[in-house]
Symmetry: C2
Subunit: 415 residues, 2 copies
């Protein structure tokens, strides 16, 4: 099956489209019986990336998306139109990528644009409600591309008691699990998140892979927010601004006292937590300390690296040790960190991260070195998740989201 | 297949659940080949209503729904939570109805709560956009009820160039088409709408039934808005308030000059058009004319009846005449109006409607007389539409919505 995965991240830059060939893998057709289903998932489908395209949002659309995200004041009409307009844009992005690919595709998996995500329930209209919301009308994509579309992946996991995130761990497991090595997939998007994969010593036949996954905290979201405010630039190209400054130890230590870093996984962070208000707070603290603009960006970059070190120290290392003890036949080798996301292009962040993790004997390498372009990863993940749903296989990893059970994710729009 | 259809109308009172048995009808399994598919649709599936339940929204939820509808100022968070909260409520409504029914069901079709509908495209973020939006997260219904859910029916029709409404005509055709009689199904919801069915003389094998369907204009929405403002009552019980007043001819004539009534079908009307601002306008005009509160409600009731008479005179009668000429073997008999919706309980409205239509030789009868409870009709329609989608059959009627082609409606959430 040829599947186009479509992703728009919380930074709202635009759309990644990944056209992938996905097959049932070594276990053969996976969808026939419950036992073969389980076997198929554990063996994992075989995935090949055929083409990747990154398409920026049109300017007027990006403005509308940013205005809608966690907007304190918008209208039902505005969001309804935005949902439609995003659907049109996704349809055009897929059509353009398929045109470049030159052959027909069979299925689309579209994540949509998150405009609100609340992983933890709070009181609303007389009931406890957690919720998540992705925009981009799937019917428009199906009609324009002439193939079925799977969309709206997160709610089914939340309906099963999960936090609706992260959903990339299944791809991490399928592509990167290694028989003898412990690996951590560290994504540096707006928010940082990781998937820790113990050596894949478990016998086949497991519906839910054994792994640890959670959000590590703010990454590009805060760095980008500061470069926009201080340098009128959308991001810190190659980490040059941060390289010209020095992280302020006291400000950094204060930021790291945030209770989020101590909270045990599963946990998710969002724009609600690390958006404009958080950037304002850093700027106010920095003004009191009389920091240079470069030092402020350097401190935010150091925060991203240090938050990952804390995650490793507190949660990842103990988890991997427990697992390695349980499978004592496997030789202990250095934990490999494989870094993806826009932050993988920030050399200063990558250098700081390597320094932080070297203390624990970990290696750090960008995902591109393993054959998957960093920017394509999440789009590939939603191609895989669409394939799973099309075959009525679960796509969440309960160990990652906290769900009580595996769930078939998303909704199928036929054509 | 046992299918629960779930409907919440624009009046936002609550939820109708209709549990139906739906089979492939006389043409046998309809989903195998394109030709059998077409045959199956033309013959129409067989539908039996097993149970109907009407459940009011909890008060806090109704308040939230009314606040969100066409709200000039809300937030993404508020709407995201409302989407979730409605999903919970739909899940409980279905579970409660299934409990009463006492046997398992196979599928749910949930319309959701419309909070915005714009059938005609307008400029937005650099593009022409029409849109529609129904809330009520389907994943929560699927998880709670343990069966697949079809939801979000309207966008696929709009993606095919339609206005996304009306969607009840397929049910009207399947249940009420008659070999020798012309029938009009007149629904009196917040907005009035009709489906005109010529004698079903067409040969079988048609994918798209031949019928005329459109919104006739405001019905309960304006009457209810006025009784709420003038009498602090949610609606005019049995039409008693209108019966105590007299419609004001000049105010009524002014209201009927609205260009909507002259516009040729297909056409849709919405809360945008006939909501609070429209009620304000009537109240302002009535104040200038020094009308009593009863006369104001009587005028709104007369408006609903007169708008349907105009629709008959201008569009329905010519259409049925054309069709009858084309099938001259069919004897001309009086057109039967079959009335459903909350307005069918308004005796004054029903009397005025019978008087208006008697001028054209039409008969008027409530749908209950034909064996289908008025309140259950739309919920039954969405059970049928879910069944169609589950079998990958189209659910829209292009003649009704203006779509360029039949479309498989909605999205399937698996469990």
């Amino acid at each position: 099956m040829t599947v186009a995965g479509v992703m728009s991240g919380t930074s709202a830059d635009g759309i990644d489209v990944a056209i992938c060939r996905i097959g049932a893998g070594s276990a053969g057709p996976a969808q026939r019986s419950a036992s073969r289903r389980r076997a198929g998932l554990a063996a994992g489908p075989a995935i090949e990336l055929l083409l990747h395209r990154a398409l920026p949002y049109p300017k007027a659309l990006r403005t509308a998306v940013l205005a809608a995200m966690n907007a304190a004041s918008t209208s039902a009409a505005e969001l309804a139109r935005l949902n439609w307009r995003l659907g049109q844009t996704y349809a055009e992005a897929v059509a353009s990528a398929v045109g470049d690919y030159g052959k027909p595709i069979d299925l689309v998996g579209c994540h949509g644009q998150t405009i609100y995500h609340q992983g933890v329930a709070a009181k609303y209209a007389g009931r406890n409600v957690a919720c998540t919301w992705q925009l981009g009308e799937a019917a428009l994509i199906a009609a324009a591309c002439g193939v079925p579309v799977v969309s709206n992946f997160r709610p089914a996991d939340m309906a099963a008691g999960g936090q609706g995130a992260p959903l990339v761990p299944l791809l991490d497991f399928v592509l990167f699990h290694h028989a003898r090595r412990a690996r951590v997939l560290q994504n540096l998007g707006g928010i940082g998140n990781l998937t820790a994969l113990p050596p894949a010593a478990k016998p086949p036949g497991l519906l839910a892979p054994d792994l640890l996954a959670f959000d590590t905290g703010p990454a590009n979201m805060v760095i980008d927010g500061l470069t926009a405010r201080l340098f009128a630039k959308p991001y810190d190209l190659d980490g040059r601004i941060a390289a010209a400054g020095t992280a302020h130890p006291r400000l950094l230590a204060g930021l790291l006292r945030d209770s989020f870093y101590r909270k045990a996984p599963p946990k998710t962070a969002g724009r609600e937590q690390y958006g404009a208000l958080f950037v304002d707070r850093i700027l106010a603290d920095a003004a009191r300390l009389k920091l240079s603009s470069q030092d402020i960006v350097a401190t935010a970059t150091a925060l991203a690296a240090a938050s990952i070190r804390l995650a490793h120290e507190r949660f990842v290392a103990p988890y991997l040790q427990r697992h390695t003890r349980a499978h004592s036949r496997i030789a202990s080798s250095p934990v490999e960190y494989i870094v993806s996301g826009g932050g993988a292009r920030n050399r200063t962040l990558l250098r700081l991260l390597a320094e932080e993790l070297a203390r624990f004997g970990c290696t750090v390498a960008p995902i591109d070195a393993l054959g998957l372009p960093s920017e394509a990863k999440e789009a590939v993940a939603f191609a895989l998740l669409a394939w799973q749903t099309w075959h009525r296989l679960p796509g969440n990893v309960p160990a990652a989201t906290g769900a009580a059970r595996p769930a078939i994710l998303g909704q199928v729009t036929y054509v």
